[in-house]
């Protein structure tokens, strides 16, 4: 009741943002644990990273209005995520060349 009043009064409570990021994050967790294709796993990783970014930004905005730490953290996280995705996809291409498949279940042997 209180929430609804607050919402209608024009303030978006912090829990709402956190709830959104929560859903995104655990959707990513589900995707990571249950999908076969490596690219799907990468997509899930992207989801999780984004959820974390939202969290940082939200906390920065609501709890530390004058500072910029959360903002920069999210910024650099985006940059790093981009790099990591690039390298991961390069690896996946290589795996595809050797195994003709990108199923994660085929990757369980150590090098001979």
């Amino acid at each position: 009741m209180d929430l609804l009043n607050n919402i209608l009064a024009g303030q978006i409570p912090i829990e709402a943002y956190l709830g959104v990021s929560l859903i995104m994050f655990f959707a990513g967790v589900y995707g990571f644990l249950s999908r076969k294709s490596m690219l799907m796993i990468l997509i899930s990783i992207e989801l999780m990273l984004n959820a974390a970014d939202i969290n940082f930004v939200v906390f920065n905005r609501y709890l530390f209005p004058g500072h910029l730490e959360g903002f920069y953290f999210a910024l650099f996280t985006i940059a790093i995520a981009a790099c990591e995705t690039a390298v991961a996809i390069a690896i996946i291409i290589n795996i595809y060349r050797n195994l003709t498949s990108v199923e994660v279940g085929n990757l369980d042997q150590m090098k001979e």
Binding site: V29, F32, L33, S34, I41, V104, G105, L107, D108, Q109
Partner: protein, 633 residues
């Protein structure tokens, strides 16, 4: 008298050297080393005996000399085991007997065992045996005696099983060792009981006549029998095993699987008298604290003697005849001890028993060595393969005859004197005992001359090659032992060995002597009639008494009883269930552990699957759990 240590140490060194060198040296060298060592210690023993017996007596009694007594194991303040040498009349006498017979056997084996495989091993074992037996007789305390007792058993096992490729020899060796070991269980329990109450192992303290040592045994009894009787009875059981008393005599006939010189040394002259020696050593205790056990010993000895004599009358293997004869004569010795009292005239049984031990060792060794000579010539043990050998083997013939006359108790040979003293002691104890032993003496004469005539007279058997007389190495001991047998009877034994170590002049009891000689002559005549020339009488007698004859030939089926008890009762009802339990319960548990470990490892293996998602899963769960723990606990 410190040099007596050499008498023990030299054979031990000989054993070690010959055992280590084995076949690297020529057999002759091994034989020479063994024989020379034995020769040295024989000379030393004679010297020790001369020195001991010519020493001045104290209070008319030979004192016990202890040249060595070093402490070996100490359990408590008053319980310790020493290793030492005790010189006293019976141990000095035994030193002489053992070294003489062993020396003769060593010389004999130079000729008998020539070209045998394992010649060096044989001499090593002979030295080991000599060492063990010597250690047994000079033991200062009962535990040392037990240690050497076991060593003697081991040497006997090694020598009986010398032809280890023959299954019968291996079986006989096992039988000997197991039966004597089983009897030694009684021995050990007896030692423990005795030392528990008297708090000492030492012979000096035990036999000193001091009654305070036995104070704690007064009034102590178990199941109605006094503790001392239990202890001494159990100790006797140990002696009965080694000396082949009924019902533990089963191993001795089978032990004839060993080489004949071994039979001469171990199973005629020395090891089998260890039981007699044990009773003689503890005689002061037997007399004072459990005379009823002593009488029991006499009855057991008498029964065994009769039993063995009957069986010996129908055996066809010459070594078996001699084996049963040994059992019978040891029975005589046990009877002599059993009927004995203490000191002076009552103690004549003790003295006679020791005298008979001495003379029996000599002529029994002679008989076995002579039998070995015959076997060497004819290559067979059976009487049916022999006959008329006196033409070919004169020395063996004469010496064998002398020994047979001695064992039959014909004067002036040594056997007459010793056996006569035992018989007079028996008559003093009870007329029935005397009569029985005289009858057995008659049987002895009969079967010994049956043996003699079957080998040397009678119809000749066709041989592959003419039998020849033995070589010098084998003939020399025969002659020497024959000489001893002829002259040893005249030794005034009572001067040297008596129950209380005081002097005793032997006098001949003419009534006993006449009766025994008469019976012996009758038996010999009977044997001459039946066996000197070929005759129908033995076969007729065999068919008339066929039941008894068959039973005696099969040694009265005692072996079958033992096999029945062990196989049907013990193996089937105890060993099999235990084996089943071991295999299916204990092994199953161990296998279960292994199987469980494998199963767990199989399951855990799954953790290292290489699957990224599984790793992430575990990781996530772990994180969750830790977070929960941290936040809420």
């Amino acid at each position: 008298m410190q040099y007596t240590l050499l008498i023990l140490v030299l054979p031990l060194l000989s054993f070690i050297v010959l055992g280590l060198v084995d076949s690297k040296w020529k057999p002759k060298v091994a034989g020479t080393i063994g024989t020379v060592v034995l020769g040295i210690i024989t000379a030393l023993s004679y010297f020790a005996a001369w020195e001991y017996f010519s020493m001045h007596r104290i209070a008319g009694v030979y004192e016990k000399i202890i040249p060595f007594n070093i402490e070996w194991l100490r359990f408590t303040d008053y319980l310790y085991i020493n290793l030492g040498i005790l010189l006293d009349p019976i141990s000095v006498m035994m030193l002489v007997v053992i070294t003489t017979v062993s020396f003769m056997v060593n010389i004999y084996s130079l000729g008998y065992m020539v070209n045998e495989k394992g010649f060096e091993r044989y001499y090593a074992f002979l030295s080991l045996f000599t060492f063990s037996m010597l250690g047994l007789v000079v033991a200062t305390n009962i535990f040392q005696m037990y240690i050497f007792w076991e060593l003697v058993g081991v040497s006997s096992y090694l020598l009986i099983g010398f032809y280890y490729t023959k299954p019968s020899a291996v079986a006989a060796a096992k039988k000997a060792f197991i039966v004597t070991r089983f009897a030694d269980l009684g021995f050990l329990i007896g030692i423990l009981v005795l030392s528990f109450y008297t708090k000492t192992f030492d012979f000096g303290i035990l036999t000193s006549g001091d009654t305070s040592v036995f104070a704690s045994t007064v009034g102590a009894s178990f199941m109605g029998i006094s503790v001392m009787s239990w202890a001494l009875g159990l100790i006797f059981i140990g002696g009965a095993g080694k000396s082949a008393m009924f019902p533990l005599q089963i191993w001795l006939p089978d032990a004839m699987e060993g080489p004949t010189p071994v039979s001469a040394l171990i199973h005629a002259a020395t090891m089998v008298v260890a039981g007699v020696f044990l009773v003689a050593r503890l005689f002061p205790l037997y007399i004072v604290y459990s005379p009823e056990v002593l009488h029991g010993i006499a009855y057991v000895g008498a029964f065994t003697s009769l039993f063995a004599a009957i069986i010996a009358c129908v055996q066809t293997d010459i070594k078996r005849v001699l084996a049963f004869s040994t059992i019978s004569q040891i029975g005589f010795m046990m009877v002599g001890l059993g009927v004995s009292g203490n000191g002076g005239h009552e103690g004549v049984g003790y003295m006679a028993s020791m005298f008979h031990l001495f003379t029996h060792a000599m002529f029994k060794a002679l008989l076995f060595l002579g039998a070995g000579s015959v076997i060497h010539a004819v290559h067979s043990n059976e009487m049916s393969h022999m006959g008329g050998l006196r033409k070919y083997m004169p020395i063996t013939n004469i010496t064998f005859l002398i020994a047979c006359l001695a064992i039959a108790g014909i004067p002036p040979f040594s056997g007459f004197f010793s056996k006569d003293e035992i018989l007079s002691a028996c008559y003093e104890f009870s007329p029935y005992m005397g009569a029985t032993m005289t009858f057995i003496a008659g049987l002895t004469a009969f079967y010994m001359f049956r043996l003699y005539f079957n080998i040397f007279w009678g119809k000749e058997h066709k041989h592959q090659h003419t039998p020849h007389e033995s070589p010098f190495a084998m003939a020399l001991p025969l002659v020497f032992l024959a000489a001893v047998t002829v002259f040893a009877g005249w030794i005034p034994f009572g001067h040297f060995v008596t129950s209380d170590r005081a002097n005793y002049d032997i006098h001949l009891d003419f009534s006993v002597a006449t009766i025994s000689v008469l019976i012996a002559v009758c038996s010999i005549t009977l044997a001459i009639i039946m066996y000197r020339k070929e005759s129908k009488v033995p076969k007729k007698l065999a068919t008339t008494f066929s039941g008894l004859h068959k039973a005696a030939t099969n040694r009265f089926y005692i072996d079958e009883v033992y096999i029945f008890i062990t196989k049907k009762i013990i193996f089937n009802n105890i060993s099999l269930p235990l084996a089943w339990f071991d295999r299916h319960v204990i092994d199953a548990t161990m296998n279960g552990f292994a199987g469980t470990t494998q199963w767990v490892s199989l399951k855990i293996k799954g953790f290292q699957s290489g699957q990224v998602q599984q790793y992430a899963y575990v990781f996530l769960l772990g994180t969750l759990i830790i977070t929960v723990l941290v936040l809420f606990i």
